[in-house]
Amino acid sequence: MSQRKMRLATVWLDGCSGCHMSFLDMDERLIELAEKVELVYSPFVDAKDFPQDVDITLVEGSVSTEEDLHKIRLIRDRTKILVAFGDCAVTGNVPAMRNRFRLKDIMERVYSQNSTHKNDPPVDGIPALLPKVRPIHEIVKVDVFLPGCPPKAEAIYFVLKELIEGRIPDTSQLSRFGA
């Protein structure tokens, strides 16, 4: 009888999806992983709600909106091992470059000074931006940090293999900030 497959989720908060592209760069190793994990939630699959009892979640992106804040807390509640996946999740990276400015000034710059239509900033149907962008470990406990912009496919593969085998990987020599 085969072992129960591990339940894997990947999440895309405030990032460019580059980390998810790097995930896909695992190429044929994805087939090997697919035999050991079930992808229960991800931009790659159709699930709408983050499920219960997830073993491993890779979180790409920083916490930048009210929705991100809500999601990351929900994910933490429902995940055994939370991986900060890439520089935006680990450091704030490019999204956090807005932190040196006041949110009001940014909105004015984007929607008024730099815009042809001079519309007011939208308020309905989209999540409100937080005053400051935060790396995820400033909001919830993170179990594994995988820096890199993006982390290489080899690094992602190593981390997932180790986690599947029940070990917490040492990521320090695999990747670095800005990799």
């Binding site: 520089d87 450091t91 956090a96 470059m97 040196r100 670095r176 900030f177 800005g178």
Partner: protein, 239 residues
């Protein structure tokens, strides 16, 4: 008649080594293949002990000592790489990352940066301190170079190389503590400095992407230091 060279013997990480009187722990360690991390010390420039990454344990001393400015003594027992020291070094690096806006992924020296490289070597995978996100300027007024204070770690290598090697003393430090900042001349745009010779030495001793050549994109800037030992020898080793 020249005074004879006095020799000191000591141990570094349990290894018996000999050194000339007046040498520092950092120099003697290096001569013996032990690489003590540093971001402010650079051979050829005077040591200042600014970054604290080279702190070592010396038996009998009641505090940690910076290896780059501590001269060797007879019978010293030095430890350069204990768990405690590695912990402190990681904390120092994390504090440097949290203090200003270091965004490696969009930096001109990504992949060639001493701060980035040291963070990886010491196993810094994230920063445990809250980031400060200060609002710091970029001065691109110089024709060929620019200084981005967001990436500056205040090692003062630029200040020292300009003063000690080039002899121009364009750079200095203003302010105290967290408000310290590198300034050109009397805190004016770099491009308006009358004494800057545009030699580029500050660009190439800078350990991060804080001082860089214009026209270089992300990860394109590499620092070249070959000139420094040569110029130091030509100046008769004087600093």
């Amino acid at each position: 008649m020249r005074a004879p060279v006095r020799i000191k013997t000591l141990t570094i990480d349990g290894k018996e080594v000999s050194a000339k009187e007046g040498e520092t722990i950092w120099q003697v360690a290096r001569e013996n293949g032990i690489d003590i991390p540093t971001l402010c010390y650079l051979e050829g420039l005077s040591p200042v002990g600014a970054c604290r990454l080279c702190l070592v344990e010396v038996k009998g001393a009641n505090r940690l000592l910076p290896a780059c400015v501590t001269q060797v003594e007879e019978g010293m027992e030095v430890t350069t790489n204990s768990e405690r020291l590695v912990n402190y070094r990681r904390m120092i690096l994390e504090l440097l990352f949290s203090e200003r806006n270091h965004t490696c992924s969009v930096c001109v020296v990504n992949g060639h940066c001493e701060l980035q490289r040291l963070a990886q070597r010491l196993g810094v995978t994230h920063v445990r301190f809250p980031y400060r996100y200060p609002d710091l300027p970029v001065d691109a007024s110089h024709e060929r170079f620019a200084i981005d204070h967001n990436r500056c770690i205040l090692c003062t290598r630029c200040v020292r190389v300009c003063d000690e090697i080039e002899g121009a003393h364009v750079w200095d430090v203003m302010g105290r503590g967290i408000k310290s900042q590198i300034i050109a001349d009397l805190n004016q745009p770099w491009g308006t400095s009358d004494v800057c010779t545009s030699c580029g030495k500050c660009v190439h001793v800078c350990p991060t992407g804080a001082i860089f050549e214009k026209g270089k994109a992300v990860a394109e800037m590499e620092k070249r230091r070959q000139f420094l030992p040569y110029l130091t020898i030509m100046r008769g080793g004087k600093q």
